[in-house]
């Protein structure tokens, strides 16, 4: 007898402090409704800083027509703080966190993220990842290559997310950056727990860290293998050629090229 996979929650973040939150809500819902997720789930809209009854009422009016639950969380704690609040609110479900800029790009997107979590060795699945380092801005960040999942769209079991964020200070913007790409990033915390961190492609392939630069996703080619896009992926698509090359180099560096033989593994 096989056990059925845990329930899934899609947690979409709306921040009242973002002047464009109304546009984000409309655009996300349009993309969410355009593509079948391919997996049963519950949509949870995180209303960050909507504690005022009038603001909350407007948010519900903007979301009218969609089937969703809402969770109002305070402004403090950046995006990750809101995700931590959601994880505390959940039980054993798997949760897919999507930030305000996230837009669904293809059918079956949630199934493709979720199915890799059925493998016990996989701890976290992301739609996009990067090798970029912020060390030039702050020496506290690891140098390049600094593999990390981006926090715009990722899926993880709620208990594991609670575990890796249990000791996490989340007050400043710097805390949020450190959680995404610092030495104790969520990626490194999951890896340290002995689990894999993979990027899921539209083609259904799970890309382990070594193969992220050739996953057809974030800042690679035409980004055709993306499941979920965001402001950064859209920005890349609109960029002139030289800027595109610069960004791709900043993200993947020498790993973009296969001009050298692969390292022996």
């Amino acid at each position: 007898m096989t056990s059925s996979p845990p329930d899934a929650v899609v947690a979409f973040l709306l921040r009242r402090g973002d002047a464009a939150w109304r546009e984000h809500a409309a655009a996300f819902l349009a993309s969410y409704e355009a593509f079948d997720a391919g997996r049963s789930h519950r949509l949870l809209v995180i209303l960050k800083d909507f504690e005022n009854a009038g603001d909350e009422a407007e948010a519900h009016a903007r979301l009218a027509g969609a089937r969703y639950d809402a969770l109002v969380v305070p402004e403090a704690g950046r995006d990750i703080g809101a995700y931590m609040a959601v994880a505390r609110h959940l039980g054993d479900e798997r949760v897919c966190f999507l930030n305000s800029h996230a837009r669904v790009l293809c059918p079956g997107w949630l199934r493709q993220l979720d199915r890799h979590l059925d493998r016990p060795e996989v701890g976290m699945v992301g739609a996009t990842a990067s090798f970029e380092s912020l060390r030039a801005l702050d020496p506290a960040f690891p140098g390049f290559p600094n593999p990390h999942l981006r926090t715009n769209a990722f899926m993880v079991a709620a208990p594991l997310f609670r575990e890796i964020t249990a000791d996490l200070p989340m007050v400043t913007r710097q805390d949020a950056f450190m959680f995404e790409s610092g030495a104790l990033s969520m990626t490194n915390r999951v890896l340290a727990a002995g689990r894999q961190v993979v990027v899921a492609g539209r083609n259904g392939r799970a890309y382990p860290v070594d193969w992220w630069p050739w996953s057809g996703g974030f800042r690679q080619g035409l980004q055709e293998n993306l499941l979920v896009g965001d402001n950064q992926t859209r920005h890349f698509d609109r960029l002139p050629w030289p800027e595109r090359v610069l960004l791709a180099n900043a993200t993947w560096g020498e790993f973009r090229s296969r001009t050298s033989p692969p390292p022996r593994t």
Binding site: A206, Q220, W241, P242, R256, R258
Partner: protein, 565 residues
């Protein structure tokens, strides 16, 4: 008292300034900010390019007027940028796209740069003026390696990635089923051996396996005995289906392999090119056809040609190695069979630019380059020309064209969906057949005499003004050519704008024009303007790839270019 004096002084200075430089100061109706270069700072290069950025709105009618940048005598339209912060700051219903942005790579020298805004009357007035000293430094070109070195790298990388591909292949439980047929009288052993090495295992070989009924998820490959599939060929085809859903045809590149196993360049295929397909079976054999298209390659190809909409996917990698003795067959497939010379074609009007040579017996109009675009309404030289007449633009670098070549060119415009046609330009030992995006640095597609190249009408990204044919109606609708970016980019820009109107650009290789000298390359600032205006076209040229073999480039900049001997 003092404040009133200062105010009066300020008003007097403003009046004097306006007298000296009319229209320079912002009126109450027009508000703008130039963020870069900010304040009175000089233009400074950012990664070799001079960045101009800001926003401009008119409060009265809530419009965002166009902005352009003049560099010397040339002008470049700035891109519109989304600036929601401006709308939020003023709390008014202002257009969000009131931002402007342009980054120009200037050639070596001292340049007078002026930012201008369009006035209501259609004129332009300056917002800011400055001098720029540029060293004109350019980034180094990508290194190139020879084909043999590349194939060895490719093999090494495939070995490294094989376990990952095998795992994904095993997970594709609902993946496509391939039926592989092997025709011809050659040695089947290498073909069967390559099938045995396939990473993706959901395939059967005809005729040993009874032909399966045509149904969704089934695809057929029609190989010839002696063909060798790359180990990941079927995986790569299945991967496309997994990514994109059901398809009609999936195809990849082919090269040649000799008895010693040494590989040579072969056919690096373009994006989906239905016009090219009507004259040449360029899809070759590294192709999987949906099973319902037919039981033979010829049937499947015919069925594809008959469809108005085809779901396609292209694998930009070499999937099949043909025996080297197959070179001539490959050449015939790519070249195709040229159609007989057109006996009738639309009326042609030569447009001779800046003193280009005309053709005796053909009507022509001589124009200055400045009269080719940038006008608010069509200029007088177009008035006497019928809407359906074909304008063939000729630049001074081209010799006088032969009438039959011009008629072939005009005949290409009668093909469905074709908006622009160009000839093959003969220069020394080369033929220049259209333009390629060149990873943001557009250039002619230069073909040697022995190149594997189409001899029939085929799609290209664009053609230059050395011989560009288009109908007058389309030319007027497009507003002519963008001024001051040079003939190569003017042609390409026009073709890309035609593509936006769902019109295709083709090259007719049977129409030849001789070049008497090399066309001048576009100015660096014009190239950088082009890169910003057409970022997608720079990211990928669908119809031409010298760099087809860059394995998995993170962008479409080839990881390295392969020199094809």
């Amino acid at each position: 008292m003092l404040e009133a004096l200062v105010d009066r002084l300020r008003t007097a200075l403003r009046s004097l300034y306006l007298l000296a430089f009319p229209g320079v100061l912002s009126t109450p109706q027009l508000s703008f900010t130039i963020d870069m270069p900010a304040g009175r700072r000089a233009f400074r290069p950012v990664r070799g390019r001079f960045v101009i950025r800001g926003w401009v709105v008119t409060f009265e009618d809530r419009q965002a007027p166009a902005v352009r940048v003049r560099v010397g005598r040339a002008v470049y339209g700035a891109r519109r940028m989304s600036r929601p912060d401006v709308r939020d700051a003023f709390g008014l219903d202002l257009p969000e796209s009131c931002g402007f942005d342009l980054a120009l790579h200037l050639g070596r020298g001292l340049h007078l740069v002026q930012i201008q805004v369009q006035t209501g009357a259609g004129g332009w007035r300056p917002l800011s003026t400055g001098w720029v000293l540029s060293l004109g430094l350019k980034p180094k070109p990508s290194p190139r390696v020879d084909y043999g070195s590349w194939t060895r790298l490719e093999a090494a990388w495939l070995d490294a990635e094989r376990p990952e591909l095998a795992r994904h292949a095993a997970e594709l439980e609902d993946g496509p089923q391939f039926l592989v047929t092997i025709g011809g009288d050659g040695d089947r052993a290498p073909t069967l051996a390559s099938l045995d090495r396939q990473i993706y295992r959901r395939f059967s070989i005809a005729p040993e396996t009874p032909a399966a009924p045509a149904m969704a998820g089934r695809y057929t490959l029609f190989l010839q005995a002696g063909d060798v599939l790359a180990d990941d060929a079927l995986y790569a085809l299945a991967d496309q289906v997994a990514m994109r859903g059901p398809l009609d045809v999936i195809y990849g590149d082919e090269d040649l392999v000799d008895a010693a196993g040494e590989r040579r360049p072969g056919a690096f295929k373009p994006g989906w090119s239905p016009l090219y397909l009507t004259g040449a079976p360029w899809l070759g054999r590294a192709v999987a056809y949906a099973a319902d298209l037919g039981d033979s390659a010829a049937d499947a190809l015919a069925a594809l040609k008959a469809r108005s909409e085809v779901r396609t996917a292209q694998v930009r990698r070499v999937l099949l190695h043909r025996p080297s003795g197959d070179l001539e067959a490959l050449r015939r497939e790519i070249a195709g069979a040229p159609a007989p010379t057109a006996v009738s074609s639309p009326a042609v009007r030569l447009v001779l630019i800046d003193g280009a040579a005309g053709t005796k017996g053909l009507p022509a109009v001589a124009v200055d380059r400045a009269m080719l675009g940038g006008w608010a309404s069509p200029p007088s030289w177009l008035e006497t020309i019928g809407d359906d007449e074909v304008l063939v633009f000729i630049e001074r670098e081209a010799a006088a064209p032969a009438p039959e070549d011009l008629h072939r060119l005009a005949a290409a415009l009668t093909l469905p969906g074709v908006g622009v046609a160009g000839p093959a330009l003969a220069w020394k030992d080369e033929l220049w057949c259209g333009l390629t995006g060149g990873c943001g640095d557009p250039e002619p597609i230069r073909l040697g005499r022995d190149a594997l190249a189409p001899a029939v009408v085929h799609e290209v990204l664009g053609v230059g003004l050395q011989g560009l044919a288009t109908r007058k109606r389309d030319f007027v609708a497009a507003g002519g050519f963008t001024p001051s970016i040079g003939g190569l980019l003017q042609g390409l820009d026009y073709c890309l704008r035609s593509a936006d109107r769902d019109q295709v650009t083709v090259v007719e290789p049977a129409a030849r024009l001789a070049l008497t000298r090399t066309p001048r390359p576009p100015a660096p600032e014009a190239v950088s303007w082009h890169q910003q205006t057409w970022p997608e076209a720079c990211a990928q040229d669908p119809f031409y790839r010298e760099d087809a073999l860059a394995t998995h480039p993170a962008t479409h900049a080839p990881a390295f270019l392969v020199r094809i001997p």
